[in-house]
């Protein structure tokens, strides 16, 4: 799988973590470009610096020169830095952000989940086999005593009956965009999956979409990247990326489970 140089550079030299999403490549590329700029500047200046303090030490150069450097080399360097920064900004950061972060794919072509962060768990709400997200009601969430932080209205909304709510163990199909609406219930958390190169703050009162397309089956840690209380460090979840068939099977089974456990209520 590994294009050797690219892999060596990103993972061995820069220590980037395993990459398992489509847009992540662009993130990593830009990280490489920026660090190349930094390396050029650092090495250039540092070499000059060492040479200068060595050559102009007092014992070697007892009489200082009043004027020093004439001319405008420095303007060229500063101009050069500005130009490269402008290129990275206009050529990469802005368009990529516009494309990858702020323009989510349509719901039809993606796996839609609602992500709700609360101290100290990750919760996800799936539409279930019918593909329609059921109504959520905070009063129900409160009444559930914590077992359903979304308050999915299974009693009144027929679309809600097959919905699936999971905690800390998310499952998604491979090679299909995952569109996650992220929010927080109590304090600000941050939904981060490093291998997917996503990170989105979960702000109470706001529901913000974020998305990524997993390219590798496997299991990945979900991290909380915003201090959210004393167990912030242990607010860990798991994202399991599986084949579409496996995902459908899983969803059907979970949906069935949910239907059964809530069945008595819906007949009242």
């Amino acid at each position: 799988m590994t294009n050797t140089f690219d892999y060596w550079f990103k993972h061995k030299l820069l220590d980037l973590p395993y990459l398992a999403s489509e847009h992540g490549k662009h993130v990593d590329d830009l990280i490489v470009y920026v660090h190349a700029l930094m390396a050029v500047l650092f090495v250039g200046w540092f070499a000059y610096f060492l040479y200068a303090i060595f050559r102009f030490r007092k014992s070697k150069h007892p009489k200082a020169d009043y004027v020093g450097v004439k001319g405008h080399v420095s303007n060229w360097i500063e101009g050069g830095v500005a130009v490269v920064e402008a290129i990275l900004l206009i050529g990469f950061a802005v368009p990529l952000w516009a494309k990858v972060v702020t323009k989510p794919p349509s719901e039809k072509e993606s796996t839609v989940i609602h992500v709700l962060a609360k101290q100290f768990n990750w919760n996800a709400h799936y539409a279930g086999p019918d593909g329609i997200m059921g109504r959520q009601d905070q009063a129900l969430a409160a009444a559930s005593g914590g077992s359903d932080p979304f308050g999915v209205d299974r009693a009144n909304d027929p679309n809600a009956r097959d919905d699936v709510v999971v905690m800390d163990n998310f499952v998604v199909p491979v090679n299909k965009p995952v569109l996650a609406y992220v929010t927080g219930l109590d304090v600000i958390h941050s939904f981060a999956i490093r291998s997917m190169r996503v990170c989105q703050d979960a702000v109470p009162g706001l529901r913000i979409p974020t998305w990524f397309t997993p390219t590798q089956e496997g299991e990945y840690k979900i991290t909380c990247a915003q201090l959210c209380g004393n167990s912030h460090y242990s607010m860990s979840g798991m994202l399991k990326v599986v084949s579409q068939a496996e995902f459908d099977k899983w969803l059907a089974a979970e949906s069935e489970k949910a239907r059964k456990s809530t069945a008595p209520k819906s007949y009242e």
Partner: protein, 611 residues
Amino acid sequence: MQPTTEETQQHAAHGAHHEELGFWRKYIFSTDHKVIGIQYGLTGLLFLFFGFCLMMLMRWQIAYPGKPMPVVGEFLQKLLGDEMVNKGVMLPDLYNAFGAMHGTIMVFLAIVPVAFAAFGNFVVPLQIGAPDMAFPRVNMASYQAYFLGGVVMFFSFFIPGGAAKSGWTSYSPLATLADMGHHPNGQTFWILGMVLLITSSLLGAVNFIATIIQLRAKGMTWMRLPFFVWAQFVTAFLLLLAFPPLEAAAILQLMDNVAGTSFFLPTGLAAPGTTTPLPISGGGSPLLWQHLFWFLGHPEVYVLILPAMGIVCEIIANNTRKPIWGYKSLVYSVLCIGFLSFIVWAHHMYLTGMGTKIATFFQTTTMIISIPSVIILTCFFISLWGGSIRFTVPMLFALAFLPMFGIGGLTGLPLGFNFTDLHLHDTYYVIAHFHYVVAPGTIFGLFAGIYYWYPKATGRLMNEFWGKVHFWTSLIFMNLIFQPMFAQGMAGLGRRMYDGGVTYAGADDPAAGLVGVPQWVFGMNRHISWAAWCLGLAQIPFIINFFLSMKKGKKVTSDNPWGATTLEWQTPTPPPHGNFDKPIEVHRGPYEYSVPGHDGDFTPQTEPDKR
């Protein structure tokens, strides 16, 4: 000709005539800018050390999660109670409290007071040829407000529930909800402490600006000001205009905490860890706090760096024995930084859900602001060329500042692009970025300044050999601490992790299991911690040197031991109340070293033109 010490001692004796003050008036309630400067300096250094001690304890928990703290564990348990320490093991609440207070103390109680208030107070009036600050009593009040703020912050460790534990950024709603069981709680103390510190900074800022505008000596035109004064001038403006919004935010958060309002609490907020809605009116906005905080927060980081750049500039000119290259570009750059630093703040908030337009705006300003920093550094680098470099202790620290700030500044760039920040946000990469600028950056600048101006304040030099020991050990350990953090951050290690991140440990390939933070990162945690403790040991020579030299250091034989051009070296040593014993006049720019056709390799600003 330089006045000899004998002459100046006569002056000093003369000066002592007209005002004989008691101990209290002289040292505790002094209105003399130099005494206030030293008060600020000593208090600030104590807090710097205290903040470092908190971090040394945290580094134990990071390196050896869940193991009892050696030596101090039992003691801390007695001191802080069982909710904070259990069987000598630091508990998560204590870790978070220490983390928040490390940041707060370092920024607001250590670096700002030392870099801005201490050096500014001691040096600025001397460098512009003023007898004192414009408002000596306001100056005293400023120190007292700072001191009180420090006391409030310090005591918050010992109240039930402990000190504030929501990060130095105190994001709402966490800041309001973190410690609902106690009232008033650590967060309340934090806010009250901050209000005092902000008041102190505002008084200081007003005083500095008024002093620099009004009290420049005859002939001290704007373009003849030493760069250090310019740096302080811009810093004062940052404090003056950026701090009030945080004060406003603090007041609103205080209302949220004690009066039950919902300025930063949205509708539908649940009590922590439950699904039960809190009994609040709602309708507030958590992001509003972040905007107000970072509106201060970003200018604040330049408050931390500009004074250090000013110090470094003075010392480089003095020790290369040649004028600073590009004085004008330095001045314009620093003004430019000051201006721009007000409109980049949201680069700390890229991942709160930002649209393309606003994110582009903030990225662009962030990239633009890096240019004047590059210009300033470039001027310093070019100034080295053609110099006759003396490697005195202050110069060593000043020189080391350059690449260290360089590393810190350059690593700001990948954070400044939102698309790369996406991966790096809230990882140890950020921690490494800003520590490179504030620790081997600013702290080295402060050390340089201490070694440089020490003889002016005390009449004695600090020991050179131990100074060098202090320098080399600090340089090495600083880099051993912060360099590995870049790698850790890249690999995805989050910051503010009580267990050093082991919960998120995993394989680095899905074929090998659950993918998380790779194992080598945790080995690195231990190396870093050891380096941090060694850095602590490396400060012992400094502390001893600092205090011992007051009594035992080599006496200076001239008022101008470094052969410097600026005005502070034209005063008696130490300068008496009122500073200058004769009216002075300035005839030239600040860095006239090795002027062709002049005898000696420096021409003080006060020396009249020959012709």
